[in-house]
């Protein structure tokens, strides 16, 4: 598919893409999964470290993409490692994105059914969500970018508001001693933290749509930096309020955190409804990006100009995959799987492809 000259996104919109895609389902369970692995209250240090590491990998991705300014990953992978290997890699990535979309939808459905709509069947919760996503993505990358521009400030504001209102139950002692057990536990938790940054690789797909490609590195840094700050604040607040033992005993620690403080006298006594509303919108943002990535991938592999038929084809697949996990534990397992896959695969893939591109340049240069 040739890049349609109309479909161009600005640097700010690329930052939105990255930030929104990364801030997905992971945030609600992040404090727990992290503290479980690390065991000490130093999880927030682990986040900062892995965040910086991920930024590095993202800059490598930008480097790789700069060699192929008008093609997305699906197209230039074929150029670098040959047609068939490239197609196989792209298919794997597409399946990953489909599974990621399914995971997002399913975890959103689970939370909604748990907290908001106890009696509604899963399919009734998921289907309107999927259809609205379809309606938006048909409009192309510009519609998605604009939608993210709207969703992001709302979610950021409300989220920060909700977190900071909990300052009443925050106890700094729960975070101490800092690095009491040394740096080793933090390193142990690095992989888990990196998993929460899954989504940094979307630059591989959207680089070709950028209007000002020279700002790509800046966009990558900000795009990952914003979720980094977010996660740090969240983990600090939640672990600080519950302490390590408290956090690991909660399934959804962030929700419990929001529910545990009460502001009497204001219109809402409990703020978790706001948080859930915001969170559903944020999941929607993540869902549409991964949905778009999958559909565009298929369109580019099959060399079709328009990705609309693939959108319609992928939606039932997403639904079926989303129904695979039987309960919430299955969903978490799926999330872990996807996170692992994303980190290792994309990290390795980028380095591998970059290496191949260097080799090719050398070879071509010599010849």
């Amino acid at each position: 598919m040739n890049s349609n000259p109309v479909d161009r996104i600005s640097t700010y919109q690329v930052i939105m893409f990255l930030a929104n895609f990364i801030l997905g389902a992971g945030i609600l369970t992040l404090p727990r999964t992290l503290t479980e692995k690390v065991g000490t209250p130093d999880a927030w240090i682990g986040i900062i470290m892995s965040g910086l590491f991920i930024i590095l990998i993202a800059l490598l991705i930008v480097r790789l993409c700069k060699k192929f300014p008008n093609e997305s990953f699906y197209q230039f992978s074929q150029k670098l490692v040959g047609k068939w290997l490239g197609i196989i890699i792209s298919m794997v990535i597409i399946i990953y994105y489909i599974c990621l979309s399914a995971f997002e939808v399913r975890s959103m459905a689970e939370t909604t059914m748990l907290y908001l709509l106890q009696g509604t069947p899963t399919w009734a919760v998921m289907m309107p969500f999927l259809w609205i996503g379809l309606y938006l993505v048909i409009g192309g990358i510009n519609s998605i970018a604009r939608m993210l521009e709207i969703i992001f400030p709302i979610t950021v504001l409300c989220f920060l508001l909700v977190i900071f209102l909990g300052i009443g139950i925050f106890e700094i002692d729960n975070l101490r001693p800092v690095l009491g057990m040394g740096i080793k536990p933090v390193i142990k938790g690095l992989t888990t933290t990196s998993l929460s940054f899954a989504g940094f690789e979307i630059m591989l797909v959207i680089y070709m749509f950028m209007k000002e490609k020279k700002n790509a590195s800046k966009a990558a840094i900000f795009g990952i930096g914003i979720p980094l700050v977010f996660y740090t604040i969240t983990v600090i607040s939640v672990v600080g309020s519950f302490s390590v033992t408290g956090v690991v005993s909660q399934t959804w620690p962030v929700l419990t955190f929001v529910r545990s403080y009460e502001i009497t006298g204001l219109f809402f006594e409990r703020f978790d409804s706001i948080l859930l509303v915001i969170w559903i919108m944020q999941i929607f943002a993540t869902f549409i990006v991964s949905f778009f990535a999958a559909a565009i991938g298929m369109a580019q592999i099959f060399n079709k100009k328009s990705f609309h038929p693939f959108l319609f084809a992928i939606i039932p697949i997403i639904y079926l995959v989303a129904m695979i996990p039987e309960d919430i534990n299955g969903v978490f397992k799926m999330g872990d799987l996807l996170g692992n896959f994303s980190f290792y695969t994309f990290g390795a893939l980028t380095i591998f492809l970059l290496f191949v591109s260097f080799v090719k340049e050398k070879v071509n240069g010599k010849m």
């Binding site: 600005s10 700010y12 919109q13 909604t112 908001l116 709509l117 509604t120 009734a124 919760v125 309107p128 969500f129 609205i132 309606y135 938006l136 409009g139 510009n142 519609s143 970018a145 604009r146 939608m147 521009e149 709207i150 969703i151 219109f267 809402f268 006594e269 409990r270 409804s273 859930l276 509303v277 559903i280 919108m281 929607f284």
Partner: protein
């Protein structure tokens, strides 16, 4: 409507071959013969008058054809007939004229045109069809024996109402001027309020059967040329038989006819049009309609009122924010009520929950039905209030609101909290300065109520996502509807939710990509 129109086009095409024979005829030059043809075509109309006389002291016959009521009788009597009957001899002797007439009728035509008719507007036509159109549209037709051309003089002059403040857009502070039905008066108002030498006004004709003049106004150098071309292209695409009001034009040039949101703004105020033109937008004014259209439209314009700019900035900012909150309330209040009452009782503050449980105890209907009953009643009252004469309309509003609501609560049909919610919603919707936005929000309110009744708070979220998705995809003449929030242009935010102080507003909106971006120049 589309099918009806194409059928009509087919019929028209079948009909026109019959008319080409007589109407496309040229004037023969022989006055009696021409008059006969014309009388056959339009003489059956009772208001078409014919007056024959002679040219000065010569024997040349002249005829004047006009529509009584549309033409300025003064013009005919003093300038045309007076000029030809009396003034001609003061310019040339009778003998000279007769020589001219016999030898070169071209000189005579020049004579009449340039030296004897003291009339502003003059047009030469040659075919019967043009004479028909000219006369029936208000011009005066002058036929001279021996000349194969006919002169159309003057234009329709109608009586128009005085320039008043429009009722639908009354302001507390601001000029009390509104457009009228006459196109010339409207463009004059625009020129006077603009006083800009770059204000360009281009004329088009719309309507196949019943033609009207449509004018586009823009400021050369500020409006983007691409936008102007797009507007012209869309106007030329209009194929309809008659255009009674600018509402038709709006519907025929808008981008997306399925969207509830207006993509063209209509206004009766020249100051609104003028400030829009200064931002780089284009205005369309139709003859016969006091509503001017402004394109392109972005979402921020719908919640703005010219009053925001005439007041000082702090007050204007607060009032604007109030309008935003009010539009949010008017869209979501009933659906949030339904969602919380039906699904999420635990999320309502405890004291309020007890109260609501008590008041809703006797109500037989589920919250959705209750809400629908009240909302539909309010809509019915509102429509009824529009048709009634003013004094009754006001009191019906109060009667309907208080007494009927009170009675409904007593009867146990609705709960009192529902009445409050509906009343707050209705009042909030009145704060919106534009009528068509109010309608859009009213429609959407019902859909959001349905979503809320099926899915609760999740439904409200879904609905807002759906609405956002729709608005995000909407474009008005190439400008994304949600500028400046998406795509994000920080520079334009000083006029979006807040209204920045005037000295900060030095640049024209970036969303319109105007070449001339600094205002002070």
């Amino acid at each position: 409507m589309k099918r009806w129109r194409s059928k009509f086009n087919q019929e028209q095409e079948q009909n026109t071959p019959n008319h080409t024979t007589s109407s496309d005829k040229n004037l023969s030059g022989n006055l009696t013969y021409d008059l006969q043809v014309i009388k056959k075509e339009i003489g059956h109309n009772s208001d078409v008058k014919f007056r024959e006389f002679q040219l000065g002291e010569t024997t040349v016959q002249v005829a004047v054809i006009f529509i009584d009521g549309l033409c300025d009788i003064e013009l005919i009597q003093t300038h045309i007939m007076g000029g030809l009957m009396l003034g001609l001899t003061s310019l040339a002797t009778k003998q000279q004229l007769e020589d001219d007439i016999e030898r070169q009728s071209e000189r005579l035509s020049k004579y009449i045109k340039n030296q004897s008719l003291s009339v502003c507007t003059l047009k030469e036509v040659h075919t019967i069809e043009e004479i028909k159109m000219g006369t029936l549209f208000g011009s005066i037709c002058l036929l001279v024996d021996g000349l194969s051309e006919c002169f159309l003089l003057g234009e329709a002059s109608t009586k128009s109402r005085g320039i008043d403040e429009p009722d639908s857009e009354a302001l507390v502070r601001g000029p009390r001027v509104g457009f009228v039905e006459n196109l010339c008066d409207n463009t004059a108002l625009l020129r006077r309020s603009g006083r800009n030498q770059n204000l360009s006004i281009l004329g088009f004709e719309v309507g196949e059967v019943s033609k009207k003049e449509l004018v586009i106004a823009y400021i050369q150098g500020i409006a983007e040329p691409q936008l102007i071309e797009e507007v012209k292209k869309r106007i030329k695409r209009i194929k309809i038989d008659a255009v009674p009001d600018s509402g038709y034009i709006e519907q025929l040039i808008e981008d997306n006819y399925l969207s509830p949101f207006p993509q063209v703004q209509s206004t009766e105020r020249p100051d609104r049009v003028m400030s829009a033109l200064m931002e780089g937008r284009v205005a369309l004014i139709l003859d016969g309609s006091p509503f001017a259209l402004i394109v392109p439209v972005t979402f921020q314009m719908l919640l703005q009122s010219p009053e925001d700019y005439y007041e000082r900035w702090i007050a204007a900012t607060l009032i604007r924010m109030l309008r935003f909150v009010a539009s949010f309330i008017s869209l979501f209040a009933p659906s949030l009520y339904i969602a919380f009452i039906s699904f999420h009782q635990g999320l309502i503050p405890t004291k309020l929950v007890f109260h609501i449980a008590v008041t809703r105890g006797g109500v037989p209907f589920p919250p959705l039905i209750e809400a629908l009953i009240m909302e539909v009643s309010i809509e019915v009252l509102r429509e009824a209030g529009l048709r009634l004469p003013k004094p009754i309309g006001q009191s019906l509003g109060i009667v309907g609101g208080l007494i009927i609501g009170e009675a409904a609560v007593e009867a146990g049909i609705v709960s009192s909290i529902m009445v409050i919610v509906v009343a707050v919603t209705a009042i909030s919707s009145f704060t919106l300065p534009q009528y068509n936005v109010g309608i859009a929000l009213r429609m959407l309110r019902f859909i959001s109520m349905l979503f809320a009744s099926v899915f609760g708070l999740y439904g409200v979220v879904l609905f807002s996502l759906l609405l956002c998705s729709h608005v995000v995809k909407l474009k008005s003449f190439g400008v994304p509807y949600l500028s400046p929030s998406a795509p994000f242009r920080f520079a334009d935010w000083k006029d979006f939710i807040i209204r920045g102080p005037l000295f900060l507003m030095k640049r024209r909106p970036k969303t319109l990509q105007s070449k001339n971006s600094v205002r002070e120049k």
